[in-house]
């Protein structure tokens, strides 16, 4: 185990303490969890302010108008037209006023207009055309069964992707009543969708489990470091002891309430 300074150990302890605060929610909502929850809300908001300022406003606005005069609102800079989006952005703040809040519709409209104008051709290209293009490929008849067990590159797999996609789309197509053959197609479509949802669900569960394992490993590392130094051990005991003390207090409170409920009944 490599040596660690007291400062790094204290920061690591804080991280471990906050992880335990979050895990305490498994019991029930409690002050530890609420503290960590409100802490992360403030920190995350502050973090995004800083990141968007340094990585967003600075390269896209300040770097262009920075050679201008502050007292002239940078209008004498070499790129004065960059003040237009800044002015529009500032108009968003008219929402603070009840009387003038309607002015914020202008920058909002420009924002939505640009977004909509981008999304129509890009949405058609990426979400529709490219998906159809990738699905409707020439059939690999010479490799229909593929190499080995369940080959995803086989012709059969390509055919299943094509037919499955059409059937799944048909399931959402309500202009034709799902009767007879169409009912069979729709049922095949829902089957494909359910397999897809199941696979996605399993994948998500495993991602969460791996995150949990990683957090437990981190707590384990922190715990093992704690036994390398007397001062570290004392801090470890304080942190774990406080959680155990709160646990015992909650348990006693629960038992008392249970006794009172039984007596009342």
């Amino acid at each position: 185990m490599e040596s660690m300074t007291m400062e790094t150990y204290l920061w690591t302890t804080l991280g471990a303490f906050l992880s335990l605060c979050i895990f305490s929610f498994l019991y029930k909502d409690n002050p530890f969890y609420k503290f960590a929850e409100h802490l992360v809300a403030g920190l995350a908001a502050g973090y995004f302010v800083i990141i968007l300022w340094h990585n967003g406003l600075k390269p896209n606005l300040f770097d262009y108008v920075g050679d201008g005069n502050f007292y002239l609102l940078w209008l004498d800079s070499s790129h004065p037209w960059y003040m237009v989006p800044a002015f529009l952005g500032a108009l968003m703040w008219t929402r603070f006023s009840r009387k003038w809040s309607w002015v914020s519709r202008w920058p909002m409209a420009i924002y939505i207009g640009i977004g909509v104008g981008l999304s129509i051709p890009l949405g058609m290209r990426n979400a529709v055309n490219m998906q159809l293009f990738s699905t409707m490929r020439p059939m690999a008849w010479d490799n229909f069964l593929g190499n080995g067990y369940l080959d995803p590159t086989s012709g059969f797999s390509h055919l299943l992707i094509f037919v499955g996609m059409l059937a799944a789309l048909f399931y959402f197509f309500f202009s034709k009543e799902h009767k007879g053959v169409f009912n069979g197609v729709a049922k095949f479509g829902i089957g494909i969708l359910m397999i897809g949802f199941g696979a996605t669900f399993g994948f998500t569960v495993m991602a969460r489990i791996s995150l949990f394992i990683q957090r437990i490993q981190k707590l384990g590392e922190w715990s093992s470091i704690s036994w390398t130094d007397g001062a570290f051990t004392a801090i470890w005991l304080i942190v774990c002891g406080s959680f155990i003390a709160v646990g015992i207090y909650e348990f006693i409170k629960y038992m008392r309430n249970r006794g009172q409920t039984k007596a009342a009944a």
């Binding site: 992880s19 979050i22 340094h54 952005g89 409209a109 420009i110 129509i120 529709v128 499955g164 969460r208």
Partner: protein
Amino acid sequence: MKRQLPLALVFSFSLLMIIQYFIPHDISLYVNEFLLKWIYIIGIFAMALGIWSLVRVSMAKIKTKKEDWQYSIVTLVSLFLMILFGFDFFRHFFSAEGLKNQMFVHFFDYILIPIQASMFSLLAFFIASAAYRAFRAHSIVATLLLVSALIVMLRFNPYLGPVGAYMEKTASWLLNVPNLAAKRAIVIGIGLGSVATALKVMLGIERSYLGKD
């Protein structure tokens, strides 16, 4: 001015963006990049509204001493501290020195990351209870959901021995073939839906973003 001008702005800017998409010229590319910067800058200015809203709600909670008002102090203090360190004690507004501030980095590494990772890992437990309810095999389609999820979850299980290799191949096939077919159908549906909605916004049929008055 209140309603007609925003509608005209939406229509003209969206038309401009659609036209420039089909013109592969340097000027068209410049317009595209310039307008993308516009929405980026406007979006960042709008974020100030969100921060102000957070501050206002927290302040109101503290003033009126609503339930759990003490935690709002934690939110406000942590927000202020992160901004203070991010601007390196308000010494560096226009250089990235603040991002290297030791406290800013420590707050990110030892507070933000552990809490967010723990919150996401906590979902493992809740997703497990959701799975219990969703995975009851009461019909053929529910059984399909159950079986495919189980195969994907068990694919890296080291205790399955020789069956494990088949499980891994089956999971890989499930993810790359039926799952892909389902995903493509959903993506195409979402794509067509979003284009239809975008057209409605562009033509002024959908105007809920304008508000009421």
